[in-house]
Symmetry: C2
Subunit: 728 residues, 2 copies
Amino acid sequence: MLNKEKSRFLSGKKLISLLIIVCISGFAIADEGMWTIDQIDQLDLEKKGLKIPLEEVYNPDGTSLFNAIVRLGGGTSEFVSPNGLILTNHHVAYGAVQKASTQGTDYLTNGFLANSLEEEFHMPGTSAMIIDEIHDVTEEVIMAGVKIKNLEKHQRAINVKIIAMTDAIEEGQEDVIAKIVSMYEGQQYLLYIYKRFDDVRIVYMPPLAIGNYGADIDNWMWPRHTGDFAFARVYVSPEGVGRKYNPDNVPYQPKKWLKISTRDLNDGDFTMIMGFPGQTSRSRTSHDINYYRKLFYPDWLERADDVINILVKAGEDSPEAAIAIAGMRKGIANYQKKYNGTVVAMDRYDFLNETLKNEKKFMEFVKSDRKLKKKYKNILDDISVLYNDKIAYKPHDDILGYFGLSRWRWAGTLPSVANNIFYIVKEREKIDSERDPKFSEKNVTRGAERLHNKYMGFYEPAQKELLKYFLEKSTKLPVNNRIKSIDELLVRNNLSPAEFVDYAFENTKLTDVEYTKTLYAYKSHELEKLNDPFIDLARAIYKENEILRKRNEIFTAEITELRKNYMEALWLMSDEAVYPDANSSFRFTYGDVEGYKPRDAVQYAPFTTLGGAIEKDTGVSPFDVPAKLKELYKSRDYGNWADPDLNDMSIAFLHSTDITNGNSGSPVLNAWGEMIGIAFDGNLEAMLSDWKFDPAIQRTISVDIRYVMFVTEKYAGADYLLEEMGLK
Amino acid sequence: MLNKEKSRFLSGKKLISLLIIVCISGFAIADEGMWTIDQIDQLDLEKKGLKIPLEEVYNPDGTSLFNAIVRLGGGTSEFVSPNGLILTNHHVAYGAVQKASTQGTDYLTNGFLANSLEEEFHMPGTSAMIIDEIHDVTEEVIMAGVKIKNLEKHQRAINVKIIAMTDAIEEGQEDVIAKIVSMYEGQQYLLYIYKRFDDVRIVYMPPLAIGNYGADIDNWMWPRHTGDFAFARVYVSPEGVGRKYNPDNVPYQPKKWLKISTRDLNDGDFTMIMGFPGQTSRSRTSHDINYYRKLFYPDWLERADDVINILVKAGEDSPEAAIAIAGMRKGIANYQKKYNGTVVAMDRYDFLNETLKNEKKFMEFVKSDRKLKKKYKNILDDISVLYNDKIAYKPHDDILGYFGLSRWRWAGTLPSVANNIFYIVKEREKIDSERDPKFSEKNVTRGAERLHNKYMGFYEPAQKELLKYFLEKSTKLPVNNRIKSIDELLVRNNLSPAEFVDYAFENTKLTDVEYTKTLYAYKSHELEKLNDPFIDLARAIYKENEILRKRNEIFTAEITELRKNYMEALWLMSDEAVYPDANSSFRFTYGDVEGYKPRDAVQYAPFTTLGGAIEKDTGVSPFDVPAKLKELYKSRDYGNWADPDLNDMSIAFLHSTDITNGNSGSPVLNAWGEMIGIAFDGNLEAMLSDWKFDPAIQRTISVDIRYVMFVTEKYAGADYLLEEMGLK
C-alpha cells in the first residue's frame, strides 16, 4: 500500500517509477474496471466465481481463451470453430454488408446465409486482428524523450520512437501490425503485436427484423429484444498468411476457439468479457467535463441533427438512396442517443460540480505538503489555460474538422479524400525533422489500397447537400473564427457555397476511385495543375489544416504531461484500484448477471424473452417480428435452447461488466470459460459510464448465446454451423 | 349451485326470479368485482385478511364505516373528522376551485389553506351526498311494466314508476334525494335514499406542483408521484338540513368518520375501497365492442384532438383564458388518454375476436337445448340489427349530440343551455302521456338554481371557435346524415357558420346568467318571440333532438331487454361470480398491495417515494417540485409519516382492487378499517378494465395517507387539521 506518509519521502522521479509498479501490480479492487490482461491475477477471480484456473483465461506462455479473441474493425469478435468461424455483432458487420448490398441484393433487410464456403462473400473494408505478443516497452519509449524539456518536442520524440519501433517490427511482415499504446496518460507503454487478416467473409447474418429489432428506438435501452449477432469467417493464404481477399485463400485455423455453452444461465451468475474497448475518460478534470458538457456535446448534437435531416431527406429519393446512406445515419444516430444520454446523466449527477468539489479537496491535499505543493499546485490552473485556448478556436476548428481532420468527416467523402491525398503528398516533400511523426508510407499504401471502401455508401445528392451545408456554416462563422481559406476560395471564384458545390461535382474526377488512387503518387505541384475542384479545396485549406494539426499536437503534448502529473498526485491521495482508461487495447472485465433499478418503483429483470419481442411487435419496422419466428414461438419449437426457468427463449441479458464502444461483439463467458453471449450495448441510464462507473446502474446488454443458436438452427436452418461448432 | 341440468327444468318466468336470487346470494368469488354493499358477506373477507367484524364495515341497522363514505360530484369522498371534514382527490375538487379561481386568485397553482372555518370558501357546483337507506324495490318496479309487451312502452312504464316512487320520497324534503338504480340490465332495482348537502367548502388544497405533479404526462401511469388530495368540509343549516350555501350554515356532524391509519403499509397488505364507480360494460356483446373500437373511440378521439387544439390556442391569449379553459382541457385530456389506452388494450387482447369466439361457444350452448334455443337463439342477431341501425345514424347523431344532448357538449355553453331551456318549456306543454318520463319539475328548479355553474370557465373566444367548428362539421356531413335544421337555419339567414357565430354572440342575451334563469318560466311561444340567436338555434334543432331522443329511448328499451336475456343465458352457461356493472351506485372492492409486470423484463414495485418525485424534477411544470418540499426531503423532516422500510416518504401505492371513474377520492382502508390512502387512478396497461378485468395487470393507484398527512402537517403547516382528525 502506498500511503501518504510514504509519499512524502518520494522525489519526483522515483515517484514515477514507483507509480508504474503500483499501477501494474495493483491493490484494492472494486467491481469495475477494464483491466489489461496481465492484471487479471490481481482480481481474485476465483472468489468472484471463476471455476477454471487463471491460466486457462490467459497464459502468456501457452494457449488460453485470450487467444480466441479477435479485434474486428472498430469492434470485437471471437473464434468459435477450428475453421476460422467468428461471431460478432450484427451492428459490427452491418457496415460491410451494407456496402456489399448497394449492388442490388438487400442482404441487410433479408439477412444472408451462405450454404457453403463458396457462398461466403467478402466483407469490404473489414479486417480482423489477433494478438500474438504483448510487451511492456515503457522504459524504451520514455527514454527517447527523457532529456527533452520542451513538451512538444518531448512528445514528438516519443512519437518518433514509437513509429520507429513499430516499423521495425512490421518490416517485411505482410500480416504483422505493431501498436504501442500509452497507458495511464503516458505512465506506461505497452506494445501489442497483432497478426492481421484482411479477408473476412460473411457467413450468416439474420434479417434486420431480428439482428436490428427495435433499431434506433431501442438502441441503448432495456428491455431489449435484438438478436444482435452475425457469423463471419477469417481467411488466409494457403501458407497461413493474413492477406487481402483472394479466391485462393482458405479458412484460418486458430490455435484457440471458444466452446459454446449449453448450460442454463441465471440471475447472479458470474460472467467475464474480453475485447477492445475504445475510449474512456475516467480520470479527467473539470475542464474536460466543462468543455464537453457545455460545448462539445451541444455543438455536436446540433450539427448531427442537421446532418441527419439532410440524410433523411436524401433517403426519400429512392430505396437505393436509403440503403446507401443507412450506415452513416445509423452511426450518427447511435452517437446522438449516446451523447444526449451523457448530457442528461452529467446533469443528473451534477457531475461538473461534483468534480469541482473533488478538485477542491485535491488542492487542499496538495497544499498540505511542501513537496507536493511545489510539484502539483499549478496543474489545474495550467489545464485551465490550455482549455481556454482550445475554446477560443473552437468554432473555426470544428467546421474545418468536418472537412477531414476530425473523426466526423461530414462535409463529405471527396473533400476528405482530397485533403488526405494533399496532406500525404506534402508530408513526403518535407524534411524529416518537420514531418508529422505519425506519417508512415506503409499506412499510405494501405490507405490507397482500401480507398474504395471510403466510396461505398457514396450517394452524390446527399454528398452535395452535406458539402453545401458545411460551406455555408463556414461562411457564417464569427469574424475572429473565420476559415479564411474557404472565404478566399469562394470569393476568388465568385461562387456561393451552392454554386461551388455544383461546379465542384460537375468538374471533379475524384468520383472515379481508380483515378483517385493514382493521385497518391503525384508531387504537390502536379496535383495543383490538375485544376480539380476538390484538390483545389484541399490545397486552399491545407495551411489552416497544418496550423490546426500543429496546435492540436502542442495541446496534446502539454495536456498529456499535465494529466500524467495529475494522475500521479491522485494516486498519492488515494488507495483506490487502478486500471488505465480504455484506448482500443485488449481488456478484461467481469461481473454478475444482474438487473437494475432504472428509476423509482421500477425494477428491470436481467432477461428478456421471445414472448417479450412478440409483445412489442407492431408489424411495422423496426418492430416487425418475422412470421417464421412467430411460428417457432407459437409451436415452442426451441430445440435445446429454451431457458428452463423462463419457459421461453431468453433473448438478451444484463450483467454488471464494465465495457464501452469497441467491446461490441465481445464474447461473454461463464465461470467455466464457455461462451454464453455476445456483448452489444450499454444502458441509457449509465451514459456517464465513459466518465464515471456507477455499479448500481451500469450494465452490459448481451445477446444470449442460446438465442443466437436458436435463430441459427431453427430460424435459419443452418445446422451445419452448429455442427462446425461441435453442437450437433 | 345452478347447473345446466337444473336449468333445463326452469321456465322463463321462474328463471328470472331465481336469477335475481342467484345474483344476490352469489357463489364462487373471484378476486375482482365492484360489489354492492349487501354482497360483502359473501366475499369471505376474513379469509382475505379483514381483521374486524363485517358489521363494522357495513351494518344496515347501525353505524359502520359505510356511513363515512360521501358521494361528491362525480367522485367519492369520506368524512375524516366529527366536524364534517372530508378528504377527496385534488382532481375531484379541481373543477370547483378552478371556477373560484377565475376571479383573480390562482388557488390552483398556489394551493389554498383556510386557517380557520371563516376562511373556507364555497366550492361552486359541488354537492355531497350520503346514503341513508337502501331498499330492494325490484318487485314494485318490475310489476309496473309486467303486462306491457311493447318494449318501448314497457320501459316507459318502468321509468314513470321510478320517477313516481322517487318523487314521492323526495316530496317536501329539502335535502333528500332518492335514486332507483337498475342492476344486471334490469334484473334488479335498488332504491338509494341520500341526504344531500349543497354547501361544501374547500379547506386545504396543495399546489398543482404537488396535487397534480406529473399532470397529463403521468396521468394513468405508474410510477406516479402525485399528491392527489384535497380537504373540504360539509356544511348544513343550524337545524342540520343540507341546504345550499349560506353564511349561517355550520359544519355537519356525521354519525361516522374514518380513523387515519398510523400503521406501516407493506407489499401484500389487505386493502378495501368503498365508493361510487361510474360505469363498466363487462358483460357486453361483440356488437358493443365493435361499435366502440371501430367507431366510437376513433371518432371521439378525432373530435377531441380538434377541440383540444382549439382550447390550446385560446389558452395562449392570456393567463386568465388559460385558467378559464383549464378544467375543460383537463377533462378531455383525461378521456383522451383513457380511450387511446382502451383502443390499444382492445387490440393487444384481440378483444373483439376473443368475444366473438365466446359468442360462438354461447350459441353452441344455446343450441344444445330445445328450450334454451327457443328463448335465446336470436339474441345476438337482434342486438346486431339494433347496432346496425345505430351505426347508420351515427354521423348525424354525433354532431347533433355535441350541441347539448350528449355527455360531451363541446359546441359550447350557450347552445347547450338554450337547448335545455327549450326542451323544458316544451315538455311542460305536453300532455302527460307524451312527456319524457325522465322530466321532473324538481330537477328543473335545481338546474335553474345552479345555472351559473355552467357559465364558470366560460371564455367567449374559445366558445365561439368551438361553435364555429361544430357548425362547420355539421355542414360537411354526408348527404344521408345531414342535420337539416342547421342547414336550414344557415340558409334562411344566409350566413356561413363563422358569420352565424359572430352574429349569435353579438345579439344574444344568454351570456347574462340572471337573465337566462328567467327563461325557465317562459312559454315556448314567448321564447320564440325573443329572437335570441341561441334560442332560435335550439328551436331549429328541437325536432331533430326529439327524434333522436325518441330513437335512443327505443334503442335503450330494446337493447336492455336483449341484454337482460343475454345475461340470463350466460348465467345458465357458467357458474362464475356475479356482480352488477358499475352505475354510479355504492360499491365495495378489495385486494392486496401489489406491484405488477407491465411488460417483458420490467417489474413495477407497489410504492413510489418522495425521492422518486425529486428524481423526476425538471424545475418545469408539471415536474416542478416546490422548494419547500425539497428542503423537507433534504432534511428528512417527515414527522411520524416516513415509511420505515423505504426510509423515505411513500407517495403512492398500487393495489389489486377493482375500480373505475367515480371511485376517484374513495378511501382506501386497511384490514382494521383505518384509512391508508385515497384512490385516484387506474393504470394504462389495464385500460380495458371497463370491459374486462385482468387480475395480472389491473391496479388501483392510491395516494398514501402518510404523504397526505406529511404534506398537510409539514408542507402546509396545517397542524390544526391533524388535531381535528385526532392525530395530535
